[in-house]
Subunit: 345 residues, 2 copies
DNA sequence: CGGGCAAGGTATACCGCTTTACATCGCGCG
DNA sequence: CGCGCGATGTAAAGCGGTATACCTTGCCCG
């Protein structure tokens, strides 16, 4: 049925057709001098005619490596699919990669197979660089890529060590978020996270605490427990006196605004909610989510650029991208009246 | 900074350490006979010790190809990200692929670059097979992969021609959906689609029409126009007398149930909504969406199995997977009372 | 006791491309 | 008029494996 109808065309065929040696063809396709413009044109024409392109694998074997990026995501199908961030990331990576002719190799793994996969992909030379996401403090992958000698960059908060990072500047965002809420009269705000172990979660905690302290706000931290019978009720029960929450995950924020009213907590009248990410999800939630938009696509672009330079052996340094913006929609509102709050301020 | 600390280990090093020839190592790693169990063990030990694995590219060059699947998605970042289907697909592909040691190469392209990318990837031997999604009637890719001689399978409705398909059995699902609605008193139902050109959309149309005819229901078809100022209002205005809709896309269904009440159409009291896909999105929508769950992961698994056999040159035939199930939640309810409807039946 | 054969390995020719060293040729210049 | 050199190419040696042909042994058997 799907017999290879035509024998695969090789560089030799192109050379023959153009009346030159294979080396000449190779030279042309690698932008090397040593070939006159006239013959270069003939060669390109021949290649076009035969519809030939240099074999990816062969190039790799003969030194010309560095053309594929590995992305290993250690999440369950469930949580991977629930986070629109990954879609944005994938979409964002794809464009700059194809621009420089790189392939993207993607896989999902379970946490305990993670290092194994990095080892394998690198050992096989299946990929030439790694992009690390969901980095934890003290993440074993940092030492691993270093040991392997694999070019790598991480997306998220910088961590100690040699792995270069692409970070979204959050600092002023927290100031902005907290200010938005204090402006509405909120005096106790809690951050909600679903991934307490991640490095960027910790970084956010710090940023949030500082912003809260500066403004005399009571800062709380609550972890989302997806396995509770009613995760929203569970969370709301642990909120203490907070009248506003800032939720790391947009989907969780959406779940909260959808379900809270059903268990007697009106949003935003009794509880204001800010999502720390933004996507189309914010627009199907009711009330619409006040959210921060993150420059995911730009982070992706930056990371790709970084990795390309790393692969070429150039020196690189950590990058930060900015562009978080608060999108005020309907899930935030003036704080409810409570006696003790009124006394202060 | 990221200097390759260690010279890359090759098959020769392993052979040396194990005291055999490279051929022997190769034989062991390709499950060929001709090596005694004893030496095989020594060889594996040596490979382990050096942490060696056969170089992906080299294998390809020397015949042992067939280890990467290309997935080219011709969608804008926007619509790609909005469709949880793709997340499920990616997650679903990843597991069976890694099980057989295949890589997944992913990219998003604009529609007009699509064929170009297939040509390139195949020409470069970057991938050894393609999985086609979003197939249109008369899709040029069908002829293209045939011409290239590239193993390919498509996800969705079968189309004429040699490209083998993996299809979700929809027939009885329509019966079930229509019956669910007629049971609630609905007599005019409209299908809503956002992708009128796709082959599987057409197949669904047919299935729906048949199911509707068999039950004496007025079947309508409406196309979603995302660029209208208010797409939901626009759609609702074109519904005619339909009291229930079946929406191809879950996100659109979610948008409808979120926004319809805001423009005076209560769901489900005035309009029942069924989503033709299911994911976590259904659970953050209010009312919760009555939806069909599709066996995406199983489709992915089946497609991978198919492609593997194709690559090995074995004969394959189209597969269908079943497992659609109606999840009745809150977006469907008894049809509103209308005079003419009451007269009939 | 010699021949034949299976079992266990090895030598070697690629695979398709890159790359470096080397060959040619035309031409300017002393 | 002959030499040197820049401009163009080409030959050939890998890259890291795979695969096929071929070579040893040891041993069974007539």
């Amino acid at each position: 049925m799907t017999e290879p109808t035509t024998k695969r065309v090789t560089i030799a065929a192109v050379a023959r057709l153009a009346g030159v040696s294979p080396s000449a063809v190779s030279h042309v396709f690698n932008g090397r001098p040593n070939v006159s413009e006239a013959t270069a044109i003939r060669i390109r024409a021949a290649a076009d005619e035969l519809n030939w392109r240099p074999n990816f694998a062969s190039r790799k074997v003969s030194g010309q490596g560095g053309r594929s990026l590995g992305l290993v995501i250690a999440r369950s199908r469930e949580t991977f699919g629930r986070d629109p961030f990954f879609m944005r990331l994938l979409a964002g990576l794809t464009e700059p990669l194809s621009r420089i002719g790189w392939a993207l190799s993607l896989t999902l793994v379970q946490a305990d197979e993670e290092e194994q996969v990095y080892r394998q992909w690198w050992g096989e030379q299946r990929v030439d660089a790694f992009l690390l996401v969901d980095v934890r403090d003290d993440d074993p992958r940092l030492a691993l890529v270093e040991q392997l000698g694999a070019p790598a960059a991480l997306l998220g908060a910088p961590v100690p060590g040699p792995v270069v990072s692409v970070t979204v500047r959050d600092g002023s965002a927290f100031a902005e978020a907290v200010e938005h809420l204090t402006g509405l009269g909120h005096r106790a705000i809690t951050r909600v996270t679903d991934a307490p172990g991640l490095a960027h979660t910790r970084a956010r905690d710090r940023g949030f605490r500082r912003a809260a302290r500066d403004r005399g706000v009571v800062a709380g931290l609550a972890v989302w427990h997806p396995d509770a019978e009613d995760p929203v009720a569970d969370l709301l029960g642990r909120l203490g006196g907070a009248t506003a929450i800032i939720v790391d995950s947009e989907t969780i924020a959406a779940e909260i605004v959808a379900h809270a009213p059903e268990i007697g907590v009106r949003v935003p009248e009794q509880l204001s909610v800010i999502a720390w990410e933004d996507s189309w999800v914010s627009s199907i939630a009711r009330p619409r989510l006040t959210a921060f938009d993150a420059p995911v696509e730009e982070s992706a672009r930056t990371a790709v650029a970084l990795l390309e330079r790393l692969v070429r052996g150039e020196a690189v340094e950590a990058q930060t991208v900015s562009g978080r913006r608060l999108l005020v929609r309907e899930s935030t509102a003036p704080a409810p009246h409570t006696h003790d709050r009124e006394d202060r301020s």
